[in-house]
Symmetry: C2
Subunit: 380 residues, 2 copies
C-alpha cells in the first residue's frame, strides 16, 4: 500500500489524498459502502461501480462464520467470490463479537464467543483475525480491538485500550510473519472511549508500532457530536500526517464534513444502505421519509440534483407505492440513491479541497441540507 | 391493436406473429413477466428491457386497491408511473377477487368483496373493471370473468361460463362506449373448466362478440397436463386464426412448448419470478435448487449457456451463500436469470417456427432440459 497526501486545506485539517492498493487506486477522503456478508445489501457490484464506489468494507465475523474464510480462499478470494474487482477493507470482527455474538469471555489471549448462527464455540485471537483477513485477500485488514459500548467508565476504557495495544502488537507480528504483507496491509485501531488522555495514550502506543494506517474506533456510538469531533482532533493531532486515518462507523454527512475538516481520510457506515432499506432517502435538501403521505401524488424525483437511475426514472409517488405495498424494488432503489448521494458528497468534498474552497462548500452544502429539516416536521 | 400471423408451422399449430400495440410491437409467441403491483418483483424496467421482455402483465385488483387507478391516471398512467415504456396487459382482477379477497357475493351484477388490505367493501362489475383498466392506460385490458377453482362440478362450471359470457358482452359495451378503445384493446376470457363441450360453448359465445383477442382462463390450476393440452386444442380449433390467443397462467417450459404447438400466442406466469425469489433457477439443463449443498464450492455459473448478468458474473457458490445468509441480492439475481431464461426460450422458439424447425428444436430443448432432472435427485 502507498498513501499520498496530494493537497492540504489551508483553512482546516482537511486532506485530499490517494491510496494505492493491490486492487486499485482510491481517492480520499473516501466513503466505503458496507458489504457485511460479501454483498452491499440489495445492490450489484456493477451498480456500486457506477455510483463511484472505490472501496467496500466487508465483515470478518460474518464471513468467517459463513461461508468461511478457507472456502472463500478456495473460491479465489473475496474479490472473485463477490464479483468486486476494486479494493476491499475487512474489519476485524471484534465489533460484531461484542455486539452480535453471545460473548463468553475476553482475555488477553482473545475473545471467546458463540456463533449467532449455530451457537458453536468460537475464538478470535489477534493472530487468527489476521489469518482470516489475509486468507480472504482483503486489501486492508484491521487489528483485533476491544471496543466498549458508550458510556463506559474510565477504568474499563483503560483496560480495553491496554488490551487493544497488546493485541495490535500481536496482529503486527502475525501480519509480518504471514507472507501476506504485500497483498494485505494492516491498520491499527485507536480506542480510549471519551477520555482525551486515554485517546492520546492509545494513539501513541499504536504509533510506536509503526503501522501502515490508523483507525479511530469506539466513536459514533451515541456520544454528543461535539465530543466526537474533539476526540478526533485529539487523536489526529498525534497521528503521522503521511498515514491514512479512518474514522470507523461515522456516516452522517454533518459528521463526515466535520471530521474531514479535522483530518480524517476514510469513512464507512451502514447509514445509506440501512436507511435506504427502511425508506429514508438522503437528498441535497435533507432526509426524506418516502412513506410520508405528502409523497402520495408527488411526481418529483427523490433529489432533482441526483443523476442516479432512481432519480432519473422514478417519482416519489411510485417509490412510496413500492414501500407501502412492501415491494423489494423500493428498498433497492432507495439504497441505490443513497449510495450515489454519499459518493457524490465525497466527490464534491474532494473537489472542494482541491480548489481550496472546503469551508465555503461545506457551509453552503450544510445550509441547503439542513434547510428542509428545519422548516418541515414531516422530514425525519 | 393489430395482430399479424407471420408464419405458421407446417407440422403443428405453432404460429409466429406480431402484435402492434400503442406502446410498441410485440413478437409472438410471447411470455409476459408478471408485475402484479406495478413492479416485477426485485427487478427494474431497465433490467426487463435488457432481458428482452416486450410486454408485462399488471394486476387490476392490486392496483385498484393501492395506489388506485385514479391516482395512477393522475400520475400519467401506468407506463409513466412504473417507468415501463413498452406494452402492458392488465388482467381484470377477477382471479384475485376469487383467490385473495374475502369474497362476499357474486351475482350477475358483479363480484362483491372485501379488500385484503383494509377489509373495506368493494365491488367489481364488468363495467368498472374496464373503466379501471382504461384509466391506467393498459394496452390490453381483460374482461371480468368468473373462474372456479379446480376441480369443479359441471353445473358450477356451466354457471360460471354463462356469467362469463354475459359479463364479456357488458365489458365490450363499456369498452366501446368508453372512448378508450383506441388506447386500450379488450380480450375476452374463455372458461368452461375441464369440460370440452363447455369450453366449446364458451369459445363460441365469445367469438359471437367479435373481440380483438381471446384468452383461455381457468386452466393450469392443477389439472393433468394432457387434459390442459387437449382443452387448449379444443378451444383453439374454434378461435379465429387472425386473432391472438392467450393462455393465462401457463409457465412451465414444457407447457409453453406444448401449447405453442397447439396455437397459443401469449403466456404469463409468476414462475420465473416466484421461483427465483425462493431459490430455484431454470437452466437449459433443468431446474436447479441453489441452496443445495452440492453448490457449496461450485464455481460454475447457474447456466453456462446464459448471457445474463448473474451468469456472467457470479458462481453458484456465491449465489448459494446469498440465499443461505438471507441476502436480498440472491432473490434478485436468480429472478433476473429466470426472466432471461424465459425470454431466451421464447426467442429460440420463435426462431424455430420461422425456420420451420419447431418440432426438432422442441425435442432437443426438452431432452436437454429434462436430462439432469432424470439423473439427479438433488435437482427439484
Amino acid at each position: 500500500m502507498r498513501f499520498e497526501v496530494l493537497k492540504t486545506d489551508p483553512g482546516s485539517g482537511a486532506r485530499r489524498g490517494r491510496l494505492l492498493l493491490p486492487h486499485g487506486e482510491v481517492q480520499t477522503p473516501v466513503f466505503l459502502p458496507v458489504g457485511t456478508q460479501a454483498t452491499v445489501k440489495t445492490l450489484t457490484p456493477a451498480e456500486l461501480e457506477q455510483a463511484g464506489a472505490e472501496m467496500l468494507v466487508c465483515n470478518t465475523y460474518h464471513l468467517y462464520l459463513r461461508p468461511g474464510h478457507e472456502r472463500i480462499r478456495a473460491l479465489g478470494g473475496l474479490h472473485e467470490f463477490m464479483g468486486w474487482a476494486r479494493p476491499i477493507l475487512t474489519d476485524s470482527g471484534g465489533f460484531q463479537v461484542y455486539s452480535l455474538a453471545a460473548l463468553t469471555r475476553v482475555t488477553d489471549q482473545g475473545a471467546e464467543f458463540r456463533s449467532h448462527v449455530d451457537g458453536s464455540r468460537q475464538m478470535f485471537t489477534p493472530e487468527s483475525v489476521v489469518e482470516v483477513q489475509a486468507a480472504m485477500g482483503a486489501d486492508i485488514a484491521m487489528c483485533l480491538d476491544e471496543c466498549p459500548a458508550y458510556p463506559v467508565s474510565r477504568d474499563r476504557a483503560e483496560q480495553a485500550l491496554v488490551r487493544t495495544s497488546l493485541w495490535a502488537g500481536r496482529c503486527r507480528e502475525a501480519w509480518l510473519g504471514s507472507g501476506a504483507a504485500e497483498a494485505t496491509t494492516l491498520f491499527g485501531i485507536a480506542q480510549g472511549a471519551t477520555y482525551p488522555d486515554l485517546r492520546e495514550r492509545s494513539a501513541a502506543e499504536l504509533i510506536e508500532l509503526d503501522l501502515p494506517g490508523y483507525a479511530i474506533g469506539g466513536l459514533c456510538l451515541g456520544e454528543p457530536s461535539d465530543l466526537t469531533y474533539e476526540l478526533v482532533s485529539t487523536v489526529n493531532a498525534l497521528l503521522p500526517i503521511e498515514r491514512p486515518r479512518y474514522l470507523m462507523g461515522a456516516g452522517y454527512p454533518e459528521d463526515i464534513i466535520a471530521t474531514v475538516g479535522r483530518g480524517v481520510d476514510m469513512f464507512d457506515c451502514v447509514l445509506p444502505t440501512r436507511n435506504g432499506r427502511t425508506g429514508t432517502a438522503f437528498t441535497s435538501a435533507g432526509r426524506l421519509v418516502i412513506k410520508n403521505a405528502r409523497h402520495l401524488d408527488d411526481r418529483a424525483p427523490l433529489d432533482p440534483d441526483c443523476q442516479c437511475y432512481t432519480c432519473r426514472r422514478f417519482s416519489r409517488a411510485y417509490l412510496r407505492h413500492l414501500f407501502i405495498v412492501g415491494e423489494a424494488l423500493g428498498p433497492r432503489l432507495l439504497t441505490l440513491h443513497n449510495v450515489w448521494f454519499f459518493q457524490n458528497l465525497m466527490r464534491r468534498l474532494r473537489s472542494a479541497i482541491e480548489t481550496g474552497e472546503f469551508a465555503e462548500w461545506s457551509g453552503s452544502f450544510l445550509d441547503r441540507y439542513r434547510s428542509v429539516r428545519q422548516t418541515s416536521p414531516t422530514i425525519e
